[in-house]
Amino acid sequence: MSAAALAYEILLMRLFSISQWHHFAHMAISLALLGFGASGSFLVLARRHLLRAFDIAYVANLCLFGLTAVICFSLAQHIQFNPEEVLWDPRQWRGLLLSYLLLALPFFFAANGLGLALIKFNTRVTRVYAADLVGAGLGGAATIGLLYLLSPAEALRVLAIGGIVSAGVGWIELRLRPRYVVVGLSLLAIALWAFPANWSAPRVSQYKSLSQALQITGTRVVNEKSSPLGLLQVVESPVIPLRHVPGLSLSATAEPPEQVGVFTDADNMTAITRWSGDTGELSYLEYLTSSLPFVIANPRRILILGAGGGAEVLQALRYRTEHIDAVELNPQMLDLVRKEYGNFSGRLYDLEGVHTHVSEARGYLAGVDPASPYDLIELSLTDSFAASSAGLYALSEGYLYTVEALRSYLELLSPDGYLAITRWIKLPPRDTLKLFATAVDALADSAVVDPGNRLMLIRGLQTSTLLVKNGAITTGEVALMREFCSRQFFDVAWYPGMSESEANRYNLLRRPYFHEGARALLGDGRDAFLARYKYNVRPATDDRPYLHHFFKWSTLPEVLALRGRGGTPLLDAGYLMLIATLVQALLASAAFILLPLAFLRSRGRSLGKKIRKRVFSYFFLIGLAFLFLEIAFIQKFILFLHHPIYAVTVVLTAFLVFAGLGSAASTPLAAYFGARNTARYAIAAIASLGIVYLLFLDVVFASLLSVPAAMKMAIAVALIAPLGLCMGMPFPQALNRLGESAQSLVPWAWAINGCASVVSAVLATLLAIHFGFTIVILGALILYGLAAAVFPRD
């Protein structure tokens, strides 16, 4: 049952990132926890009735889980919701809330089943809890496996049918009458199988780029590939050809050839270009800001991070680069270009001198031999890395763009080699300036005395390109750059020795914002600039890897006042959605978890105010702390395991399985030490382990970054195991204690813990954005410490 619930959660995350945007991944976690919490309260009220008919109630909940998993998802799909209208259209809030509640229902039923078992087998609480956690862990792992075989929508149906089938099995095993119910259940399972596939298929928001592209006459999806890394959809448009050339100069006369688009999760398009193998067809690739490194130098060995459909590789080929290493996260993307579009793309990935690698960027870099450095390392604009990671932990995509990442790129450059980063222009400037600041920090950290001497920044109408040189920029290079910019109508934003009068010539802004920003970030006024700038452009670090977090609370009132006048895009939708989710989680958990318990007051009162206060605090604290640690470690391990989806699976599974084992192991320990001491020792162990990890985890990761993937997973599991074991103990031991002395408070404990978890999952991410993972982990340890102090006494 718990396996099914976790599987449902992971599927929801995938389905959300296809149909809407990835911020909804956070919602899936808090949904699950809300369902569980609400169930706790429900059980309090209906416990007597349900226990009298335990068998039927248990089977019914299993069955309802299966049914609602598919049906509620279909219903929620039909609720109109457009996050962009949220700020001025109150109906959107209703839609969001309604779908939130609908989607929580399956979790509610799953939790009912679990809760019933917990109450029924009260004396064996640790074992039921252990089975729950281990089951959930394995369910998570199995789902990831399933996603390689099936699309998320199919997997959802398989899950629902699994729910019904196990209800049937339960009916038979428990020898329930009448028998024909089993026949009914089988029919139901068959009906679900026959359920029209398009009802449960994710309906892509009409404002996502895939939906927009499909509006065009003749455009259709011709190929689909699904894996946990994302849903790839290939779009051909024979009538009106696709032309995706980000930032083509206004002086360009050449037009791009025919292209097909590859969308990841219905967004983040990368293009595969028709090419015969003649570099003469590729002249349009010289009219981009990203051509700059090829114009001012002649790089021979280059590394492209984010190969996607191959635009950057084509550009390098146009400039006759001898050796190209192209790294791509999603192997299915490379397959598309190689096989299905082999002839179309001129087999560019199989050309001599072009080497593709399936890997995540940081992991690949860790394995590069420093004896053969690169003349140019390019971070591509395809954002295919971001797209792939978007499905799970929306805001975790920035490990490519942190100070630490930039330093590692610089270390692999040949003398006088370049790092090139091209971004879309945003106005007012955001990521371009944030990356400039990041480069300045990375250079300063590498003991470069005058970072400004190594930087060059140019911009066109739509893109900017930042060059970081491993050496001082020469006057010859500056001359070539200036000549290039005036030919292409590009603006210069920074080079060493630049005067302000040279900025802002072709693409005129009210003020030379990019140049002013760059100058300020290099000078003494840097801190003052960062403080007064209306967006957060402080460099991202591995501890706070949020490149796309630009939000400043101080800017909010001004932007809100402008919401009717197009001010809204000045905010980060992702951050706003996170806040909305938190508010919603708070309200919903108060309404559905705590409110029902108000009816219970009269019964609990006999136990005294003090004990209730202690129970409340204890279970609230460990609920917060458990998820703080879990989420912080998932984020930390993304850097180590590279693929976010693997990090989530490995960390979540390991935490749950070992917490389950810890719960089981706590019984004999409690028999020896007593429940209270067992919990306290466990918490002491969590605290010491947590501190050790905080101090040494980065060092361990750094030294092991290049070992094989399977080995890394094993290491990750080994690292989490002891922590998980200990974290499994505080909850069941306290619950056991209540079972002995204050039976009626058991559901309270369950509900409060659930409530804390709903909030914690979102709060942890929010804290990480503002203060970093280190603080989240420290916070969790403090919460555990407080919990130890209030362990419920008799």
């Binding site: 457009n82 209208e85 065009i216 009106i240 360009a252 106005l427 007064r532 700038y533 402008l562």
Partner: protein, 252 residues
């Protein structure tokens, strides 16, 4: 109850009259409502222009543009279920993932192109046809291209019904512009793709202007005004249509 004292036919006539009144009065009121609503909308646009005057470089828009905004029946260009919002100063969905822009943005974009009675204007992305209608009030000829077939046909129908015979709609790819009727004094591009198509720049007269809104379908973030000078240099101006005092802060 009173009716029962009268004859049957009189009763029926009264009922018919009542029905007629019940139907026709709201219709008349609705037409008046739309005119009043349009006036209110024009007032809101003027207020917005004033608020953003330091960004758009003018205290008020061309009077001809404002007259056009006060003339064109915007409610005729939105789907029925959106009609009651037609004169609110905000963008509205029109189906097919497209929107009709916020009136203030439409007015501002039109104004920035400096329309003159003899001008020939190209629009890429007809959408509802509202922007084309506004332009048609101000210039000699409007050529507009829509990529989504259903939208293109709907706009053709609506524009013809409302008597805009100086607008020509074509369904197809806007990338290559409209060679046979080029060059144009100005070009409106409804949505920027990854780049400005080179053919559009070629079909712009030297000294001509092109305007492109940047942002998502619902939220125009800023406008790009492209100017092609007589010596062939292309410059752009990025115009923030919001009164945001941003960026480097303090000394802005």
């Amino acid at each position: 109850m009173k009716l029962s004292v009268h004859s049957k036919s009189f009763e029926r006539n009264v009922v018919l009259l009542l029905v007629f009144v019940l139907i026709s009065v709201p219709l008349a009121v609705a037409a008046d409502d739309y005119t009043a609503a349009r006036r209110t909308m024009v007032g809101e646009i003027e207020a917005d222009v004033e608020l953003t005057s330091s960004y758009i470089g003018a205290d008020e828009l061309d009077q001809r543009v404002m007259t056009a905004m006060g003339t064109v029946p915007r409610h005729e260009f939105v789907p029925d279920e959106m009609r009651r919002y037609a004169y609110e100063n905000r963008p509205l969905p029109i189906g097919y993932g497209q929107t009709i822009s916020q009136p203030y943005i439409v007015a501002l974009m039109t104004d920035l192109l400096d329309p003159a009675p003899e001008h020939s204007v190209l629009e890429v992305g007809t959408g509802s046809g509202y922007q084309a209608a506004i332009m048609a009030e101000l210039v000699a000829n409007v050529y507009t291209i829509e990529i989504v077939e259903e939208l293109g046909s709907r706009a053709t129908r609506d524009l013809a019904r409302l008597g805009y015979d100086n607008v020509e709609v074509r369904i197809g790819d806007g990338y290559h512009g409209w060679e046979s009727v080029s060059p144009f004094d100005s070009i409106l591009v409804a949505a920027a793709a990854s780049h400005i198509p080179p053919p559009l720049l070629r079909q712009l007269k030297p000294g001509g202007r092109m305007i492109i809104p940047v942002g998502s379908r619902f939220l125009t973030q800023y406008l790009v005004l492209v100017e092609k000078s007589f010596d062939g240099v292309v410059k752009t101006h990025q115009i923030l249509p919001v009164r945001f005092v941003p960026l480097t802060g303090g000394h802005d």
